[in-house]
């Protein structure tokens, strides 16, 4: 029996909280126990059934293949394509994402991230108005008023409240939860709402109207507002506006309830404007609740490589960005892509049905540790080691803070970065061969 080793302060690579206080007990090359992580993080770190062998579709059936065969087939597919889509990237390291950008350049493809069906509208809102934000520790140390709008951290980011927000304690917030006012705005009474001091229930799809009303109230122009706005009583919103203005340090966290309801990026534009307005009265910051642990990093890597944080089209050799035209769903929706590489994502489960159906009509390469519905329509499947558990790397927390992911255990499988590097190598070899032959 080998002795167990305790890895301290490991970073959890599940959600955008990137909790970095995880202790992991490892014995005989296997993770035995995970401490401090939430259920979601624990489950990821402990692991579950994995794909072990690459597969290539032959005669309509996925059949086991070697890694070299899979790399070569993937390279052939990408080389043959006129405009391949390289999609996913949210649940892998920045090192893999950097290689992904290089691959997109090499094959003249379009690279897009899961943000496109997540906080993509937030990014567009930020392009309109900027992002008045802060690191999570600033919220922990200072915020006496916190608003959760269209998000439910109790279930989606379970340790957010204890580490960073409602229940955290800091220099100017020694009383923790008792010294804070928590506000939840949502269309239903979530578990987060049950822990709130004030819950404002609004009608689905009415976020824009409610934010506009709040902006008028904050600006002292409440007299133009009707008695109910988006299902909320004017008096209730007026009380909320006063509460926000009375904050010493306020923070707004928002989720998909506002990015993907009616109005989309306009909702975010308006929310960002509300926060800018509030800064004329007190200190206020705002932050998207990023879901996948490194969807933030994907945006950062793309921005410093291409100038744009998502949906970047390299078909012309230089980066081109026009969401509505160059996002993954746009391409698939108008059949403007003829091959797809899916890395660390499951578009078949998450895309609109017609868009997912479009994927079934083109060759698909999947790189993922797990089998998921996207596997079923893939033509090449390459299993990988898990970043942050079996491979080191970098990830960016929801507030944009970069952290170093640890390697906890060995894996016989290659990491995403290595796999993409191998595919690039194969593409270069095939190109050279073709040139030599001609």
């Amino acid at each position: 029996m080998t002795e167990s080793v305790m890895i301290k302060d490991a970073v959890c690579s599940f959600c955008g909280c990137l909790c970095d206080d995880i202790n992991v007990e490892v014995a005989e090359g296997k993770i035995q126990r995970v401490r401090h992580a939430c259920r979601l993080g624990s489950s990821k770190i402990m692991g579950h059934s994995r794909m072990q062998t690459p597969m290539i579709r032959k005669d309509g059936v996925l059949q086991p293949a070697s890694f070299d065969e899979a790399y070569r087939r993937a390279a052939e597919i990408l080389l043959a394509a006129k405009k391949p889509l390289l999609y996913g990237w949210a649940s892998t390291s920045c090192e893999a994402q950097k290689k992904g950008v290089l691959l997109a350049e090499e094959v003249g493809g379009v690279i897009d991230t899961t943000a496109t069906v997540c906080h993509g509208p937030s990014v567009i809102g930020i392009e309109e108005k900027g992002l008045p934000g802060a690191t999570l520790g600033q919220v922990k140390n200072r915020a006496d008023t916190i608003v959760f709008w269209g998000c439910n951290p109790v279930e989606a980011h379970p340790r957010h409240s204890l580490r960073y927000s409602s229940n955290s304690c800091g220099r100017f917030t020694e009383q923790g939860r008792a010294g804070r006012k928590i506000v939840v705005v949502d269309v239903r009474e979530t578990r987060t709402a049950k822990n709130a001091d004030k819950f404002v229930r609004i009608d689905p799809g009415c976020d824009y109207e409610v934010i506009s009303a709040l902006r008028m109230l904050v600006a002292g122009k409440g007299d133009v507002i009707v008695d109910t706005v988006g299902g909320a009583l004017k008096a209730d919103l007026a009380a909320l506006a006063e509460m926000l203005k009375a904050a010493r340090f306020g923070a707004v966290f928002f989720g998909l309830g506002i990015t993907h309801s009616k109005g989309r990026y306009k909702n975010i534009d308006n929310a960002l404007s509300l926060v800018a307005d509030l800064n004329q009265h007190t200190k206020f910051v705002i932050m998207p609740m990023r879901g996948h642990y490194n969807v933030g990093g994907a945006g950062q890597v793309l921005a410093w490589s291409s100038g744009y944080p998502m949906s970047v089209d390299y078909a012309r050799g230089a980066p081109y960005f026009n969401p509505g035209e160059t996002a993954a769903c746009d391409l698939l929706g108008r059949a403007d892509t003829d091959a797809a590489l899916i890395v660390a994502a499951d578009p078949v489960s998450n895309f609109p049905r017609e868009t997912a159906a479009a994927l079934s009509k083109i060759p698909v390469i999947q790189i993922d540790p797990y089998e998921n519905p996207t596997t079923l329509l893939s033509d090449v499947v390459i299993p990988c080691a898990i970043a942050g558990v079996e491979v080191e790397g970098t990830a960016y927390r929801m507030d944009g803070l970069a952290l170093r992911l640890r390697k906890m255990v060995d894996s016989s499988l290659p990491g995403d970065e290595q796999i993409i590097a191998e595919i690039i190598k194969n593409i270069r070899e095939l190109r050279q061969k073709a040139e030599g032959g001609a």
Binding site: E127, G130, K140, W304, S305, G307, Y314, G400
Partner: protein, 576 residues
Amino acid sequence: MKMIIKGGIVYDPANGIFGEEMDLCIDQGRVIEQAGGEVIDARGLLVMPGGVDAHSHIAGKKVNTGRIMRPDDSRLGTEPRSGVCRPSTGYTVPNCYAMGYRYARLGYTTAFEAATPILEARHTHEELAEIPIIDKGALTLFGNNWQVMECVRDKDIPKLAAYVAWGLRSARGYGVKIVNPGGGEAWGFGANVKSHRDNVPGFDVTPAEIIRGLAEANEMLRLPHSIHIHFNNLGKPGNYTTALETLELLKDIKPGRMRQVVHVAHMQFSAYGGTSWRDFESKAPAIADYFNTHSHATMDMGQLLFGSATTMTADAPLEYGNARLTHNKWSNHDIELEESSGVVPMIYFRKMLVNAVQWAIGLELALLVRDPWKTLMTTDHPNGSPFVNYPEVITLLMSRAKREAEMATLHEQLPNRTTLPVIEREMDWTEIAIMTRAAPARILGLTDKGHLGVGADGDVSIYSIRPEDVDAARDHALVKKALSSALYTIKGGVVVAKEGRILAAPEGRTYWVDATVPDADHDRLMPEIEDKFAKYYSVQLSNYAVQDAYLPSSRVIRAGLSVEPAKSARTLAEVA
């Protein structure tokens, strides 16, 4: 690889060479006495050391925030992938690749990022590593740091020095940057400090005490660079008094190395007179007079040029003000326990009097300070203008005719607000070589940069200008064209750019400073740091410091209490 650059007219002011025809030899990346190998024909052409930018915002969170919030900017300057080059995008906020290629095209081979919080240094190094060709480093922000303010409050300079050393090591940083000291902490609750004598809320210290404390710690550690400061009240009418009073605070501090004790960042933004934007005027003559009569301070211009810019700074309240003033989009980013920051796009207009006066102030400063070793040519990229416009600034310094032609297009009230119209000085190539090469290297303490003596880095720029034939004052358009695209840029003995084409994109090095302190001071410090991580930081101490993986190619400069000052360095007085 060996190389000989033949027959150039060499300007190497650090070694007393002011336009002499001579050959330069490079081997294994360094200047040597004699070599054969590849011959570069530079007969009659202007040859200088590779350019050194001591203050530029080229990497990290605020730069990337600029890119993310400005897709309009990323659409400018687009170049497809070709040859050794990856794609380029952006004008004021270029992507990482464009940063490297564009500096190289200008003949620059070194650039330092001017402001990085320790907590976010990992991100800065991720971007620095992606910038090709040039050598680089990053200054580390200390001016609003809780640990710093507590050491200053306790008047414990040895402990502060231990923290600065620990912070630089954690951030893999190069020097001590101070931005609106105390103001960033006050901004945590939406306030600011109004003078260097204000109390910082909650910390019982003043900005003046923070600045002096950090200067003393900086000199105790004998860091290669001095403190590098962005003053309180930057960007506000009447702020020149804050500048002068802050400089006075530091004049009796003894430098730990033979150099300045304070470098003032982008002086232009702190040389303002008037009581409001209505009676706004230049106080550059008063500032220049101070620099002419004191030897403890250096500055960089922070020249403003008309057109598009992206303002980005750790001075977050300033950026909020910019956003309110211009009704433009506004990003803010507070960094727990350490800093605040902001980003706002900006356009400077010729016909707006305030902008015209700002433009004039930068030039006045450079032209009125007699000693070019004290004044670096910068635009505070991309705050005053993107660095690609350096040739415009250089030609303005070299040609009064160009300045006059430019002034004719500006707001008609300009002559009442600045002395620029009566300034006759036209700089020569020696002065330009000092302001863009020799002085930034010396001010940063980079002994292998900014000169071409034996043993120096083999970084050379050659321009299609015959300094002996061309009158830069008259032929400024030709000079600007030639400076915009070096005939050759040689980095570490490799031709990286030729006539605007990038021929090679080697990886640049990242400089950082490792300073030693007595164990006793370090041991007194650590429990306080551990306490801050236990109670206040949102990350664990063990995940805080930048790991080796983020510096694939680094150059460590040793400093600290057991290190003797570099003997080769000369004082400003000796040089002047």
